[in-house]
Structures are given as C-alpha cells and as structure tokens.
Amino acid sequence: MTEEGACRCDAEISNPYHPWPARIIKITEESAARDTRTFELEWVDPDHTARFQHRPGQFAELSILGAGEAPISITSSPTQPNLQFCIKQMGVVTTAIHQRQVGDVIGVRGPYGNCFPVEAMEGKHVVFVAGGIGLAPLRSVINYLLDESNRSRYADVSILYGARSPGDLLFKEELKQWGERADVQYYETVDRAADGYSGRVGFVPALLEEVAPSPADTVALTCGPPIMIKFVLQGLTKLGFAPSQIITTLEMRMKCGIGKCGRCNIGRHYVCIDGPVFSYEQLLAMPQEY
C-alpha cells in the first residue's frame, strides 16, 4: 500500500472506478418528512468542471468511502452552474450522504447513461407527468427546456406534478417560478391536503385525465412511483399517445455504472448504458423485470 495522499491524477483518466471529489456547497431540505434533500456540489479540482459535461437524464454514481456508491440521477440541467442531486434517504449510502454537511467532500463518478432525447423533441409540445421523487430526474430536462437558450425550440410545455402532501412537494421555490412563467402550463396536485393548502387534491393520474393533453406532435415524459407510472401509462395511452411518444426513466440496482458488472441487465440492455431513459415502446419489448 502506498502512502496516504491525494488521489493520483494519472489514475483518474484511465480508471473508471475512481470517484472525483466534489464539495457540498448547499443542502436544501426538500420534504417536510426530512428524508429528501438536494445537494449542490462544486468540484474540488477545477479541471473537472470542464471535463464533467452531462446531458439531461444522465446519472452519476455518488460515493462515500466506507459506505459505498449509489446511482443518483442528476437533477440539475447542464445549463445550470452547479451539479445538483436530489436524494431520498433509503439505504446505507443515501443515509451516509444525508449525514454529510456543507463543506464535506463526497465522490462522484460519471456522467453515465443515456439522456432524454432533447434533440428529437425539438419543435414538439412537451408534457411532463411527475410524481414524488420522480420529479428529480425530470427537472434536469425541464430546466434545460426552459433555459432561454433552448426554450424557443420547443412548443408548448406542460408540467403535471403531484406528491403525497404539500410538504412532500420538491423544489418548492422552482415550482412557484414555473407556475408564474407565461410559457409554461404548470399543474399541481397532492394526494391529501394540509392546512394552508388551497390547490388541487387528487392523484396524478386523475390530474392527467383532467388536463387531457393532446398527443398531436407531443412527447410525454413521466417518472414517479411504479404504481403512478402504471396508471399514467394507461392514461396517456387512452388519450391517444403511442408508446413511442412516451418516455420514462428507470430505477435499477447498480454497482459499476459502466456496463461491466451485469447487475442492471434487463434483456439485452444495461440500464446504465442503454438507459436509464427508455421509451414506453422499448419497455414493452423488454422482459418485465424492473
């Protein structure tokens, strides 16, 4: 074993398992249950800022040495200055991340995976249907579309979002901004209301039925709990969306993130290489083992 010291730079280029250090510069408590936080990071090595270029929909393996790694979708758009991850506390690694404070360094490997087909979506109307933490991966593409350098290339943008309760709505400040924009239709719902909440109450699939977006020249992007996705897919199909018009992003147990360890293999795809973004058409052709 060599002496302790900073990570060797020459290894970083060729070693795909070596995490890059990033400092936490901001932590935002997103949910009243205090189990979901957005971590904003800044690279320790300024070189990494230019080298880590991600596209909306990609993910990174976040690393806490001693706890392990977890694949987390990048919630910030590449148009935003800093990398952001919105993380729900679930297991060993996410718990270890939640114990970190501003100023602490964590490891990041990536960007991995494919991305939302933002080029193919140009000129179309885009409908986002998100539930709970499912908004986190979709937010990267929402903010990408809404960025002034991109907005004009997309037609109407609608965002349908719901959470269990008002306290569970993520990115509350941003939700307000989306609601105030003239070039976005923002619809919100909660499963159950709470004091002070005056908005819509009901499940996301019901909201979808109410808003009833037209499938003409439209792409629908959806992400949320499996039960919500199931009903949203049914709902979109009923509205006339073809499977190729519906895009989602899959969650999967991962380890290497680079298509070697076999863990995220479904059918002929590795979710870490060919996904996590898949169209409903692709999902239908895959074994239902996800």
Binding site: N15, P16, H18, L65, M90, G262, N265, E289
Partner: protein, 338 residues
C-alpha cells in the same frame, strides 16, 4: 517468426528459464484438481488434469480485487500499486483462451475500459496448450474453437508424436519467450498436420447454436423454464468456474476508519443480486434468475459483445452439484421451438 519445438521432458526447465525473467502462472496440483497458480519452480506445473478446476479468468479478473484504499475521515483514497513484472500464463486450453477473448470484449471494449483488467491483461503473455482428447463434459466443438489451436495466445503448444510440443510462435512477445527453443523442422510441421487431422470424439452432439437467439427470444414465457430450473440449487458454482461469466459486486470494507473498496465475484443466480435498497426485487424466483443467466449468456451477450458467453469448457456441467447440464438445457430450448 519461426515456430519451435519443445520436448515434454524439457517443459520444467523451460519454465525455470522463464521464471528468471517473469512471474510464471501455470496449472498446479491442488490434490484432486489443479488451479492456475504462480510457480516457484518449473517442476510444479501439473498437466495431469485436462484443465484447472477454475478458468483462466481469475488471472485477469480475480475473485477479490482491491480497487483502492481509503481513510474514512478524510475521504481520500489511493490505488494499489500497478503491476511491475510481466507474467507468463502457461497451459491455457483453447476453451479458456476463447474465454479470455470474451472477457476482453466486455472489459476492454465499449464506452469505458476496465483499467484493472487491462493492467493485468497487458502485462501477461499467453502460452496456450492444445488438447489431445476431450473430457465427457467438454463441448467446445460448438463454439468455433479448434482444440488444437488458438490465435489468442502468443505461443501455442500442440502435443505431437514422440513426446514433443509443436510451439507456434504467434506474436513478438511469444518470440521473446521461445527464442532459445529449437526451431521446428519440416518433419515437425508434418507431425502437426497429422495430429490436427486426427478426429476428436466429443460425448455430446453438436448443438445448432446459430438458431439459439431466435429460439430463446420466443421462449421467454415458456413453462419450460420452470422445468429447467427445478433441480437448480441457486448457488453460484457455475458462474464462478465459468471462463466467461463476469458479474461482480463492489463493496466498501472498513476497520477502525481505514478501508478498501473491493470488487468481488457475484452471480445473477444469487437471490439478492437485483435487490433494490427500497426492498423491491425484479427477480424474486429461481426460475427468473436461471432464465436471465441463460438468456444473458446465449443471447444478450452475443448482441452486445458479438460472441456467445460460453466456450464449451464444460466446467459448469462437471461442477454443478445437481448435474444441471447446459447442453441438455440448450437442446431442450431449441427442440420445442414452434
């Protein structure tokens, strides 16, 4: 590059000469089987068993690989020392050489290259060994494998008559190893041709593997899988002895604030392989896992890496505690296609 010959009785001294310059790994007797192990002396090499009980993959993809070491508190990490000395890997049968080729296509190709595999692989010179007769479990004749030749190796030794190996020199690195051996003459080349012409008898018929991907694609929901999986114990034996299986786990281990991130062999047959932190598990039954394993090896790996993830070495057939025979499984899957 001229081919050479090596008397079988000179093998140990040839290896001793290599040991002066290289680390030499070869089959070594373990009592009831051999394994690929570093040699201290050439005479330790053991060719009594057709092939070692585990494949050559563990030379490049060991069961335990320290990815790096770290201090928890500082979150700083360092990598292990990279390999300094060249290794010669001797005695690799064509099935295992084909296995190395398959693993090269996984670890070294694609958007990312595995630096740990690459490091071991590029510092290793391969000496292959031809087979004289197959075992009952061998079925390499299904996989475009010549039991008496392989271009994957730097040197390839075929046993010919009169107690000699015909040593084909197939690369500059091979030439560097074999330089002091006697050059092969015309009579040796002829003996090689004669040897190669002798038919080898396999215990099982050839399986039409080209028809597999199509047959498997149709079979996903077939009740046949339940029958196939019935005797399977769900252990990882087949995966671990296999030259092409590559699934692994990455875990962090710490003791008093110092630790390592380690890569270890894993198997898609293991019950918790796909378990999410949320508790959701996409593959909860042995049937689903068995189906995944076979489809991955015989269909999906071919789609992604261009070769079937099997070399017919038969170790899984011999090692399986319940004699689950992949040859039989494949034949059944092909036989009942509609």
């Amino acid at each position: 590059m001229k081919d050479r010959i090596l008397a079988k009785t000179d093998l140990a001294s040839f290896l001793d000469r290599l040991l002066k310059r290289y680390r030499v790994v070869a089959p070594v007797d373990q009592g009831e089987y051999s394994l690929f192990r570093p040699l201290q002396r050439g005479e330790e090499v053991c060719l009594d068993y057709l092939k070692p009980a585990r494949s050559a993959k563990e030379v490049f993809f060991p069961q335990n690989e320290d990815l790096f070491y770290f201090i928890e508190q500082t979150q700083k990490c360092v990598e292990p020392e990279s390999i300094e000395k060249e290794t010669v890997l001797f005695g690799v049968r064509p099935c295992d050489l084909k296995g190395i080729e398959a693993q090269d296509r996984l670890f070294l190709a694609g958007a990312f290259q595995d630096s740990y595999y690459q490091n071991r692989r590029k510092h290793t010179i391969l000496i292959g060994l031809g087979c004289e007769s197959p075992e009952a479990s061998c079925f390499c004749h299904n996989f475009d494998i010549d039991p008496r030749g392989s271009t994957v190796a730097d040197l390839f030794c075929v046993p010919i008559d009169n107690g000699f190996y015909y040593v084909s020199v197939q690369s500059k690195q091979g030439e560097a190893l074999a330089g002091d051996l006697q050059e092969a003459g015309a009579e040796h080349a002829q003996a090689l041709e004669e040897t190669k012409r002798r038919p080898l008898k396999f215990s099982a018929e050839r399986i039409p593997l080209e028809e597999l991907p199509g047959a498997l694609a149709d079979r996903f929901d077939d009740p046949l899988w339940e029958e196939i999986a019935m005797r399977c114990l769900g252990c990882s034996t087949c995966t671990f002895v296999c030259p092409t299986c590559h699934c692994f786990d990455i875990t962090d281990e710490t003791h008093r604030g110092v630790g390592r991130r380690v890569r270890t062999w894993d198997s898609c047959a293991a019950p918790k392989f796909t378990l999410h932190a949320s508790g959701h598990n996409p593959r909860t039954s042995n049937i689903q896992r068995m189906r995944q394993r076979i489809l991955h090896k015989f269909s999906f790996f071919k789609d992604n890496q261009g070769v079937i993830s099997c070399t017919g070495c038969g170790r899984c057939v011999a090692a399986c505690p319940v004699n689950l025979d992949i040859r039989e499984v494949l034949s059944e899957l092909l036989a009942t296609k509609t």
